[in-house]
């Protein structure tokens, strides 16, 4: 691993300044579970590593009438165990689905949202892939079992976060701090497709850092649920996952919000499926039709057509369990 300077910013406001001056050579570091792995592999070679862990106020969970605020530096384990988060069951399920107990004891919610893709071509220093500034996405003709089925091109990663789809379903906003000050964006608008930007997964500019997440208070009638399908059930990244929020009254679904993980280069808001299910009883056939409509534009690669089928079936499971829950 390349040697680096380790910087302890005196406060959060110092972070954009450090980033602006260090430019591409700086790396934000909180839990480190992703960043350190990339540094070992040589995929990230920062000269300056900015330690966010000890910045005061960066780790906190607060709940009030307006909703739930979580500092970006909050450990995933602390979210799972916090009393405040229990009012958002889907959030707790999604956070608990991340990694392992050990990783959740180390990783932060901000880091989970900003983690880099797990594509093995991206992760290997031996492949000068498109996302790293090369000319080729090796997934197109390579091993692409775990790659995206929709929204890809020219790069076919999937976004690996479990938390992000749930935040989108919960209509959360993300607070970003840069040189010009703070801004808030919808979780959904935080992420970009490779067409928009093949080198980054988020809208974060080089001087910016995620500082907190806010989930609006949910109406009592709203339920939330996260379903994750893994090849290995003990711990793994999602092959496909579904985050769903909806009200169910007399068997009718309303205020439906659905976001998928594991299918696209960004957490995939399934607006077509939402519209198709809104106000319906969501029978098996209706769910299947809704998901079929959502993935009508899917363009699976050679080894991942199974994800289209899985995405449809997982939506059925998500709604069935949402009803039971």
């Amino acid at each position: 691993m390349k040697p680096f300077q380790y910087v302890y910013p005196k406060d959060i406001k110092a972070v954009p300044k450090i980033l602006a001056e260090a430019g591409q050579t700086a790396l934000l570091y909180a839990g480190g579970t992703d960043a350190l792995a990339r540094m070992k592999e040589g995929v990230s070679q920062p000269d300056v590593v900015v330690n966010l862990k000890e910045i005061s106020g960066f780790s906190l969970i607060r709940s009030d009438k307006k909703g739930l605020s979580i500092g970006a530096g909050t450990l995933l384990a602390d979210v799972v165990e916090s009393e405040e988060a229990q009012d958002y069951p889907g959030l707790v399920e999604a956070v608990k689905a991340v990694g392992t107990i050990q990783l959740r004891n180390m990783g932060t919610i901000g880091g989970n949202l900003c983690q880099r893709p797990r594509c093995w071509y991206y992760r290997s220093a031996r492949f000068d892939c498109l996302r790293k500034g090369g000319e080729t996405c090796f997934a197109i003709y390579g091993d692409n079992k775990y790659h995206c089925i929709i929204g890809g091109n020219p790069c076919f990663i999937v976004h690996p976060s479990d938390v992000a789809p749930m935040l989108i379903a919960l209509d959360a906003t993300i607070e970003i701090l840069g040189l010009k000050g703070s801004r808030w964006v919808k979780a959904e608008e935080f992420y970009v497709t490779p067409q928009q930007d093949p080198y980054n997964e988020t809208i974060l500019k080089s001087d910016e850092v995620v500082t907190s997440v806010h989930i609006p208070a949910q109406a009592k009638s709203l339920k939330s649920h996260y379903v994750k399908f893994r090849e290995r059930d003990s711990f793994d990244f999602a092959m496909v996952s579904v985050a769903i929020v909806a009200s169910i009254s007399d068997n009718t679904l309303s205020n439906v919000r659905i976001a998928y993980g594991g299918v696209a280069p960004k957490p995939w808001r399934a607006t077509r499926a939402e519209k198709a299910l809104e106000g319906t009883n969501a029978t098996e056939q209706q769910i299947l039709d809704a998901a079929t409509g959502e993935f009508a534009q899917a363009e699976p690669l050679e080894q991942n057509e199974y994800k289209v089928i899985m995405a449809k079936n997982l939506l059925k499971r998500a709604i069935r369990e949402l009803r039971q829950g």
Binding site: M1, K2, P3, F4, Q5, Y6, V7, Y8, P9, K10, A14, V15, K17, I18, E21, A22, G32, T33, L36, A37, M39, K40, E41, V48, V49, V50, N51, K53, A77, G99, T100, I101, Q102, L103, N105, M106, S234, F235
Partner: protein
Amino acid sequence: MSEEKKHDGLSRRSFLKGVGGGVVGTAVLTSSRRTSAAEQYGDVVGPDAVEITLNVNGQKRTLTVDPRVTLLDALRDQLSLTGSKRVCNKGQCGACTLICNGRTVLACSMLAIDADGADVETIEGLKTGDQLHPVQEEFIKNDALQCGFCTPGFIMSSVALLRKNPSPSMEEIKYAVSGNLCRCGTYPHVFKAVHDAAQAMKKGG
């Protein structure tokens, strides 16, 4: 701006910084490299080695590490505590699991410098005198290992579980060790060992 002004009292970082330039003896070199803007906005250590102190298994241990050295490598290479295993070295197997400030973490996936001042418990610290920890005893009795490489990680996860929950159900046991992989597939014996250890610890008071 005076450097001292940034440091309130004896913070850990002012300590780290102090030894970074002084003890290592590369103050001239580093200060030229440290003209980076980062210095204006915070404390900076590295890339040269810095001195850190870990409270390892109840003993204060001081060592000198590059900021890039992982906690696992520092323990194994500098303190000869080789019980925590370096297997995948990327947070995917659990063999380096240890307990840091009361929580299980992966030593391969954290920097040693971030453990400065922390309480670190490794497999070496579990026994009392010559007496193995009940979890270790039960792993032996239940034949809960084959090659044994994953065992320290499993045991640390199990010990952390039993501290929080002295009477875990089988489901809770399975969940507690779900972040540890055993390629020999000894899982059923591991679950039984943890279950038996919980019983033994209750009897032992």
